[in-house]
Symmetry: C2
Subunit: 154 residues, 2 copies
């Protein structure tokens, strides 16, 4: 069962390359039903966040009219990059199955493994430096959020 | 200059909470021009990937008609979560400035720090388990990609 869905994700990836897209595909399944099936859309959509997994999460949420995907399983042709891993946690998926690794992606010229290595560094030491700046009211958004009784936690 | 843009990101976050949205805001600036200014849209858009930084990257790419943001700087009210950090690398931004930390976010009930901790674990040991499955043609998407002379590398 898992193998069949994963095979479909790989086939989506192959088809996408034939249309000059990135070599990645992903499926989201809930209780035996395919909720979303997407291939990488970065160059087509002019959107660096349009990885197959992110697109599948967005489509599945639209289909279910929810911003969480509890009880859903993701099948992806390659190990999720850190961006997609974060998206998987925010969407609260149940589990993930993948067919290639970050090393396979690196061998094909993609930055997945490099980004995993960058995360472990101190923010200011990364190749894209991330600087903390002290602002007097930096904490105000969180304060207002915690006091807002009408908020939708996510 | 950096402080002024960062202050605007914080103000976007505060305004967003007043509309019952998440307490985050982000700006993308290139050569003194604001290319995108977005607040968190997770609950509004029913999209768990609609963090302020991701939305700002998508909008900036649409405005510049490109899938990379070389030479652009991101200002964000809070340290980017792993999803946004990945998006920042894929977009090839120049640098990032932030006003709150992952610990501030955790204190307000958000999972940023937790996700940073999860990344360091072996895939199968994470709270959302990620399983490698061996497939005969798993490497085919990357092979076809490398042979495709019409591909757009990203």
């Amino acid at each position: 069962m898992h193998r069949g869905y994963l095979q479909q994700a790989v086939e989506l990836a192959i088809e996408n390359v034939k249309c000059n897209g990135g070599p990645y595909g992903a499926l989201i399944v809930r209780q035996g039903e395919i909720i979303a099936a997407c291939a990488n859309g970065v160059t087509r959509d002019l959107d660096p966040t349009a990885h197959a997994e992110v697109l599948a999460i967005r489509h599945a949420c639209r289909n279910l009219q929810d911003y969480q995907l509890t009880g859903c399983v993701l099948y992806t042709s390659c190990e999720p990059c850190p961006m997609c891993l974060g998206a998987i946690y925010w969407a609260r998926l149940e589990s993930v199955y993948y067919a290639c690794s970050r090393d396979d992606a690196a061998a094909a010229g993609f930055d997945d493994r490099f980004i995993y290595e960058q995360i472990a560094l101190l923010p200011g030491r990364r190749s894209i430096p991330m600087h903390y700046l002290e602002l007097a009211d930096a904490g105000l958004p969180f304060n207002v959020w915690q006091q807002n009784v009408a908020k939708k936690p996510y």
